[in-house]
Symmetry: C2
Subunit: 323 residues, 2 copies
C-alpha cells in the first residue's frame, strides 16, 4: 500500500478523568476539552528537536529526552529504528499542570501519536500505548494507563492490569455527559498518592469492588440508575477530599442539581460529575462552579460528552504521494 507522505501534522490530545470514583487506578474517560496540541514536521537535521513550547510558563524542558512528549516520541522512534529521522516538535500546553485532568498523559499521547502520523502511521493507536505510557512515566514516575489509554483511544477505558497493559474499551452510553470543574489550586500527584494508606479494610475493598462492577454493568447496559448507585469511592475520596476546599459542599451541590455521581478527577484538584443529558451537565457544572466561586477560588468548568475518539489529527500539511 502506498502511504501519503505528510510534511507537517497538528494533533489534539484531550483531557481525561481517571479513577472515576470507584475505579481507582483502573478506569478513565476522555472529554472534548481542554487538551494539548502538538505540531511535528520533517526537518533536515537528524534527531527529534523541540523548537517551541507554549502555555507552560517556562516549566517544561526543551531537551527531547527530558520532555514527556519527547520521551514518548523518542521511545516510539527507537522501537521502529528511526531515531535518525529529522523531526521538529512544537508543544502547545492548553491545560494546567497538576490539575487532575491528565495533563502529562495528554502531552505524551500527543507526542507519540503526532510522530506516528508524520512517518506514515506504521503503528495502530493501541500499539502506541506503551510508548505514550513511557512518556507519562517519565513525568510522574508511575506506570498507570488510566489517563493515557482513554486519551489515546477515547471513550471509557477499563484497565485490568497496568503492568500487563491489559485494557478493555467500553462504549459510552449515548446520553452520558460529564461536568468537570478545575479549581485554581495545584495538587501534586505524589502528595495525593502518599495520602492513601498502604492497607485498607477488606470490607472497603469489597464495597469498592461492588461499586466498580456495578458501574461497569451500568455503563455497558446503559442503566443510569445503576451507574448512579455505583459512583462511590470509599478508598481515595475520603482521604483526598481534604486537599480540595469545600469538596463536600461541591459534591452536595452537584448531587442536588441532578448529577448521577460526583468525585475527584484523577488525583485532583479537578472534580467531575457524570450526568444524564447535556442540560443536566450544564446545570451541575454551574452548581459546582458556584461553590468554588464562593470560597473564593478561581475555576474553569467544562461540559462534555464522553469523547469517543481520543487523540486526533487537527491539520495536515504538504501531503504528496510516496512510492
Amino acid at each position: 500500500m502506498i502511504q501519503e507522505a505528510v510534511q507537517e501534522v497538528r494533533v489534539f490530545a484531550p483531557a481525561t478523568v481517571a479513577n472515576v470514583a470507584c475505579g481507582y487506578d483502573v478506569l478513565g474517560f476522555a472529554i472534548d476539552s481542554p487538551g494539548d496540541e502538538i505540531v511535528v514536521r520533517h526537518c533536515s537535521k537528524p534527531g527529534l528537536h523541540i523548537t517551541a513550547i507554549t502555555g507552560d510558563e517556562g516549566k517544561l524542558p526543551k531537551a527531547a529526552e527530558k520532555n514527556t512528549a519527547g520521551v514518548a516520541a523518542l521511545d516510539l522512534l527507537r522501537h521502529l529504528g528511526m531515531t535518525d529521522r529529522g523531526i521538529e516538535m512544537e508543544i502547545h500546553k492548553k491545560m494546567p499542570f497538576g490539575s487532575g485532568l491528565g495533563s502529562s498523559a495528554a502531552s505524551a499521547v500527543a507526542g507519540a501519536y503526532a510522530v506516528n502520523c508524520l512517518i506514515g502511521q506504521p503503528l495502530t493507536k493501541k500499539q502506541i500505548l506503551p510508548f505514550a505510557m513511557a512518556g507519562e512515566a517519565s513525568a510522574d514516575g508511575a506506570w498507570h494507563a488510566d489517563n493515557v489509554a482513554p486519551c489515546l483511544l477515547g471513550g471509557i477505558v477499563f484497565i485490568r492490569s497496568n503492568e500487563e497493559l491489559d485494557i478493555a474499551q467500553i462504549a459510552p452510553p449515548k446520553d452520558l455527559w460529564a461536568a468537570v470543574v478545575h479549581p485554581d489550586i495545584e495538587v501534586l500527584t505524589k502528595v495525593a498518592r502518599e495520602i492513601l494508606p498502604k492497607e485498607i479494610p477488606l470490607l472497603n475493598a469489597t464495597q469498592q469492588i461492588g461499586n466498580l462492577g456495578g458501574l461497569l454493568c451500568g455503563l455497558i447496559q446503559e442503566d443510569y440508575g445503576l451507574i448512579s448507585r455505583s459512583l462511590h469511592d470509599v478508598i481515595a475520596e475520603p482521604r483526598r477530599q481534604k486537599l480540595i476546599p469545600d469538596f463536600y459542599k461541591a459534591k452536595h451541590a452537584a448531587i442536588n442539581s441532578g448529577a448521577l455521581g460526583f468525585s475527584i478527577s484523577g488525583a485532583g484538584p479537578s472534580v467531575f460529575a457524570l450526568c444524564e443529558g447535556e442540560e443536566s451537565a450544564h446545570r451541575v457544572a454551574k452548581a459546582i462552579a458556584r461553590v468554588f466561586d464562593a470560597v473564593p477560588l478561581g475555576n474553569q468548568a467544562y461540559v462534555s460528552r464522553i469523547n469517543p475518539h481520543g487523540v486526533h489529527v487537527v491539520e495536515e500539511k504538504g501531503s504528496a504521494p510516496r512510492a
Copy 2:
C-alpha cells in the same frame, strides 16, 4: 386475571458457584446440577408444616421456623399476610452441606419459590430475593446474595451491594461451561471466613478490582481471553487453599488441561474451572478429579453450562381453574 389453582408443586433449585475467583462476595453463577428439590402442597391444618426431609442424614430441623427453607417460606407468607394458609413441605437435599455449592441457599430459594408457585405466583422471582436471603441468613448468619441470587435467577449475577440487594444480571457467553468438583471433606463457612484478614494491601485491592472488572467486561463482551486473564483471586484463594488438599496440584491440572481459570467455589471445599466449550469442561473435570483420587479423596464431578434459568418448577399437580 384468573390464576390456576395448584394443589402440589415440586421445584428444583440448582447449586451455585460464588466468588468466582476475583468476585469475592459479589459474583455467583448457577449450574445445572446438583440441586435441592422441595415439594409443597395445600393442607387443611393452618401454618407451614415440614412433613419430610431426605438426604440430610437427620441434620436439619423439621420446625419450620428453624429450617432454612421454612424460614424463607414463612418470611414470604408473612410479607403477604398469608401465614394462616395450611401448607405441607417436603425437603429433598441432594447436595452435601458445607460443600461450597450453595446448599443452604438452594434450600432457601426452593422453599420460598415453591410456596410462591403454590399460592398463584403473587411475586416475581426478583421480589422473592429478600425472603430467600432471610432463609439463608438463618442458616449461616451472613447476608450474602452471591449464592441466593444466581440460584433464584439463573445465569451470572453480580451483586453491587448485599446490604441494598442491588444486583445486575449478566447473560452468560454461549460457550461458557463450568467444571465443578466436590472433594469429600467439609469446610465450615465460618472457618473459611475467619481465615481472611480484616485488612488487605491497597495494591491487592486494586489487583482484585482490575480482575473483577476484566472478568465482567470479558463475560459481557464474550472475550474468552480476557475472561481467562481475569480469573485470579489475590484475596481469598491464597488463604483458603490450605483447607483443600492438593489445591494447587488440582489448579495446575485444570489449567494444563485447557481451563480458562480455576479457583475455589464459595468457601470451598468444592473447586471450579471455567472452560470454553463442553469438551474442554469434561477434560478439565477429569483432570481435577484425578488429583483428588490420588490423595486419595472421594469426589464428585459436575460438568454444566452456566444454567440460565435458576430455580424452576419440575412438576405441578391438581391444577384447576379458580375464580
